[in-house]
């Protein structure tokens, strides 16, 4: 793994997309868990599957890891065909399964060592312990670790494969906000090391913060796919500026905003809604010059998700309308 960059990806020559999925379908009897989806994951990016529980995210990622057999479709990972070259794929990816577990009575270090030995990368253990922060509690028995610590061990077990491509299936589900942020920092650090990462999540904030690109997945289908900024700009709604209402602010907002309204909660406030960032920027500058406090509500992935699905995802990952 080295400092700074990842060694040149040992994939087939000419491969730019490390993952290439075409028309992938996975059916359980009548139930379509994954319904004819296609996407690519490019080298060096963090790509997320965003969606509620039961959307088919884990099924998709487990097919890519060789843990599930597709019903139909073409899947290549690192240039290898999932049907014929599963063994080669497994050797060159790092995986953190959803709700995974390690051997409970082994220490954090012993668990990472075990996986390292399986990959034949026993010499990577110390480096991974440092990188993931597991070194701080390496001798503690896995059973007694906190959720955040377990996740770090899980990431360590994925990382110790020394693979260029990592799969993290819901890495922060069930963690407290503090632990979640630590994991995010770590994932960003991994990207800095040149890893390509495929992530699944139902946390908008997580996907928005970490990913370069994301696919919104609901009921086995990909609703839309693209860079985060693209998703927000296209589906994320409008920028809103709210400030104290007086003659000056009303004048500025009426000049720049496409729509102006006064919130009905009785406070003396005024809100302007902007179609584009340019006019919002002008309004913000004009208000700041006159020393007004401004509350800016930017378009977000959450807004985008709501406009795509008509629903929200709650903390537990369930779709709520």
């Amino acid at each position: 793994m080295g400092q700074g960059t990842c060694p040149r990806v040992p994939v087939r020559k000419g491969v730019i997309a490390l993952i290439d999925v075409k028309n992938l379908t996975k059916r359980y009897g009548e139930f379509m868990a994954v319904d004819n989806i296609s996407f690519e994951v490019k080298e060096g990016e963090i790509f997320s599957l965003l969606g509620p529980n039961g959307a088919g995210k884990t099924t998709t990622i487990e097919i890519l890891q060789g843990l599930k057999i597709p019903t139909s479709g073409q899947v290549s990972v690192l240039g290898y065909d999932i049907y014929k070259e599963e063994k080669k794929i497994k050797e060159q990816i790092g995986v953190m399964p959803q709700n995974f577990n390690a051997l409970e009575r082994l220490s954090a270090r012993e668990n990472i060592q075990l996986v390292a030995d399986i990959y034949g990368k026993g010499n990577k253990v110390e480096e991974v312990l440092e990188l993931t922060g597991v070194s701080e509690f390496h001798s503690k028995v896995y059973l007694n670790l906190s959720g955040g610590m377990k996740t770090k061990v899980g990431i360590g077990m994925a990382l110790v494969s020394d693979a260029p491509l990592l799969f993290l299936d819901e890495p922060t589900t069930g963690l407290d906000p503090q632990a979640r942020r630590e994991v995010w920092d770590m994932i960003e650090k991994l990207k800095g090391l040149g890893k390509t990462i495929m992530l699944t999540s139902h946390y908008m904030e997580e996907v928005e913060r970490l990913s370069d690109r994301a696919a919104v997945m609901i009921n086995g289908k990909i609703q839309t796919i693209g860079e985060i900024s693209y998703l927000i700009n296209n589906y994320g709604g409008h920028t809103k500026l709210t400030t104290r209402k007086d003659q000056n602010t009303a004048e500025i907002l009426n000049r720049e905003a496409q729509q102006v309204f006064e919130p009905s909660n009785g406070e003396d406030l005024i809100t302007g809604v902007f179609d584009n960032k340019q006019s919002a920027k002008k309004a913000v500058i004009a208000l700041y010059e006159k020393d007004y406090d401004v509350k800016i509500v930017e378009p977000s992935l959450e807004e985008a998700f709501i406009s795509l699905s008509g629903s929200k995802i709650n903390e537990k990952g369930e779709l709520v309308s």
């Binding site: 843990l67 399964p97 051997l103 009575r105 996986v115 399986i118």
Partner: protein, 421 residues
């Protein structure tokens, strides 16, 4: 490091640190071995409690023959005799005695007139014998006798006929054994009592020596104790339960909690997963065997020691039973069902295979079931090697077990899922 060995090492450490695993796979069998041996091991010295009431007394003095009979009972060394005063209702006393164990409620009543009735019968029998002898003597050697001698004999025989007529009808004496038919020791007690009565009868007829005597000789070279026989049964039975119950629950738990998925997502192969589990279990089997033999040596003076054949046999047995565990763990989904299924298979097999008692004690149809059970062959093989010093006989059992080994390993490979977890 080789991934198979690493996994084996990790599984072993994980197991060694499990308190409940340790208890069920090592401590529990040892506790049972100790209890079992303490109960049955010293069976040679067992004495059965027997309340005895001698009603054949005059002014508190026991009659001669009744005393002689009681002495015979004492010499038999089988009974712990407790004397009960004559005249008491022994039957009622035994039923009402709440302090005594159910099993210890046994009584023997010597009735009034025991001496006299015995004497009458003895006289009748002896007279009969004497008449027979005299008649035979007269017929075979009559021609060599003088007239005087012949007359002497005839006179003697005439005189015998003058004994009271009622003596011909002498019934002899009866003693009454009060015993609960549910008493497990009943057959042993009845047998021992019969022996005492027979000896008494023989002596009454003036026979001090017997025409036929039983001498027992040990089949095995060394002088072995009961515990030496139990030990292979215990070793076999618990290697079996550890495999069928222990492996099944452990593997199901790994499947439930996500360890299996974690490992399946690495380049580790299913074959190595199965082998590592079997290796771990086999190591456990050897540890268990060693501890059991050690405890047997320290506490019960066990003298059997596993030789290279026994070690090989234990190896094959441990592999077979852990493979069965892998088969079950492969298709059973939740841990409770795994432990249920493991118990449902292991316990009937344990009792049907004759690990704790001889299969010959069971009805014939059960014996034929025993012969298709792997534990039966495992145990028989171990007995032949460790006790009877007969590795040749064990070979047949070894071949049967090897057949099971192959079948169950193949089945384990079939039922263990490495995808779609």
């Amino acid at each position: 490091m080789n991934s198979l060995f690493s996994l084996f090492k990790a599984l072993t450490k994980n197991w060694l640190r499990s308190k409940s695993g340790m208890f069920f796979s090592i401590l529990f069998p040892i506790t049972l071995l100790i209890i079992f041996t303490a109960v049955f091991g010293g069976q040679d010295d067992v004495q059965y409690t027997l309340y005895i009431q001698n009603n054949d007394t005059t002014n508190g003095e026991a009659s001669e023959l009744s005393e002689e009979f009681i002495q015979g009972l004492q010499e038999a060394d089988t009974f712990n005799l407790i004397e009960v005063e004559p005249g008491e209702d022994l039957k009622k006393g035994l039923s009402d005695d709440e302090t005594a164990f159910e099993a210890a409620r046994r009584g023997l009543i010597i009735p009034e007139g025991f001496h006299e009735k015995s004497m009458d019968k003895i006289t009748t029998l002896r007279t009969g014998t004497m008449q027979d002898s005299l008649t035979q003597l007269k017929e075979e050697y009559g021609e060599y006798m003088t007239e005087e001698e012949r007359q002497e004999i005839t006179k003697g025989m005439e005189q015998m006929k003058t004994y009271p007529q009622d003596m011909d009808a002498a019934e002899g004496a009866s003693i009454t054994l009060l015993i609960n038919e549910g008493d497990q020791a009943a057959p042993m007690i009845k047998g021992a009592l019969r022996g005492v009565v027979d000896t008494f009868n023989q002596k009454a007829m003036g026979i001090e020596d017997s025409a036929v005597k039983v001498e027992s000789e040990s089949l095995v070279s060394e002088n072995l104790e009961a515990v030496d026989y139990y030990l292979p049964g215990f070793i076999a039975a618990f290697i079996m339960t550890n495999g069928i119950i222990g492996v099944t629950t452990t593997v199901t738990e790994f499947k439930r909690n996500g360890v299996l998925k974690r490992l399946a997502a690495t380049p580790l192969t299913k074959v190595k997963w199965i082998l590592a589990n079997i290796m771990q279990q086999t190591l456990l089997a050897f540890v268990l065997t060693a501890i059991m033999i050690l405890i047997g040596m320290i506490l019960f003076n066990v003298r059997v020691f596993p030789d290279i054949y026994a070690v090989g046999f234990i190896l094959v047995g441990a592999i077979t039973f852990s493979a069965i565990g892998m088969v079950l763990g492969g298709f059973i989904k939740d841990v409770e069902a795994a432990s249920g299924a493991g118990n449902a298979i292991a316990f009937p097999m344990m009792f049907l295979s004759g690990a704790f008692w001889s299969v010959q004690m069971m009805p014939e149809y059960l014996q034929s079931i025993a012969e298709v059970l792997p534990l039966y062959h495992f145990h028989q093989g171990l007995i032949n090697i460790m006790i009877l010093g007969n590795p040749g006989e064990a070979l047949h059992h070894l071949l049967v077990i090897l057949g099971f080994t192959v079948v169950f390993i193949l089945l384990a490979f079939k039922t263990t899922r490495w995808k779609e977890l």
